[in-house]
Symmetry: C2
Subunit: 108 residues, 2 copies
Amino acid sequence: MVAPAVEDRIFQALADPSRRRIFESLTRGEAAVKSLTERFAISQPAISQHLAHLKEAGLVKGRREGRNVYYRVEPRGMKPLIDWIAHYRAFWTERVARLEQLLDEMER
Amino acid sequence: MVAPAVEDRIFQALADPSRRRIFESLTRGEAAVKSLTERFAISQPAISQHLAHLKEAGLVKGRREGRNVYYRVEPRGMKPLIDWIAHYRAFWTERVARLEQLLDEMER
DNA sequence: ACGACAAATAAGCAATGGCTTATTGATTGC
DNA sequence: GCAATCAATAAGCCATTGCTTATTTGTCGT
């Protein structure tokens, strides 16, 4: 009833520690799967699965270049999460107006 | 190595749709377990388990009053999550400073 | 066309998670 | 003390999940 819940996929994607570490790693710069496989002690398929998960959530995107596929963070992917947080008017009352204004600016 | 990861518990707590709906419900005001059991179509133990989960994550707290236990959102519980998001200076650059400042003010 | 390398997919497995019903604990009113 | 009510815990069940190894797909260099 409350729409297909984009938040679901985002929260779920970030809930797993390994996956969040991969994501955090990507925030420090784009990286190929190979490179990620080397810096985390899990198998290449595991990495690819995590990346697929993050991609499905709209948090990263992949770009093929030759044999490599480079992944990078999709900056706007976090927006639904931020919007969700900003939704708590009940607690932030007067400050929310300013927060929302801030978020609007972030959109561009 | 990166501390016991408070974010883990928060993300995990909010990753489940039922649990997030309970949390959202609490943002609209404190409520007893009984009340929550009535408005969600799951059993009372399920509700209690979800609340325990949210409590463990620091997102809510319970207060006993007679036979009832009233749960409410812990406003500051979201801070680690917000901090985590704000950590992405690489993407939000100048706007982050203002966001963080805003969040600091919200703390009180 | 071939072999080598990078990445994605398939299949399977052990662990976890969200639910249920049954029970126990806590608190109130008679 | 006892019955009634609200909440927490215990035990068990089925689905999901995060990993693994094995295989397939894609791309390059020769």
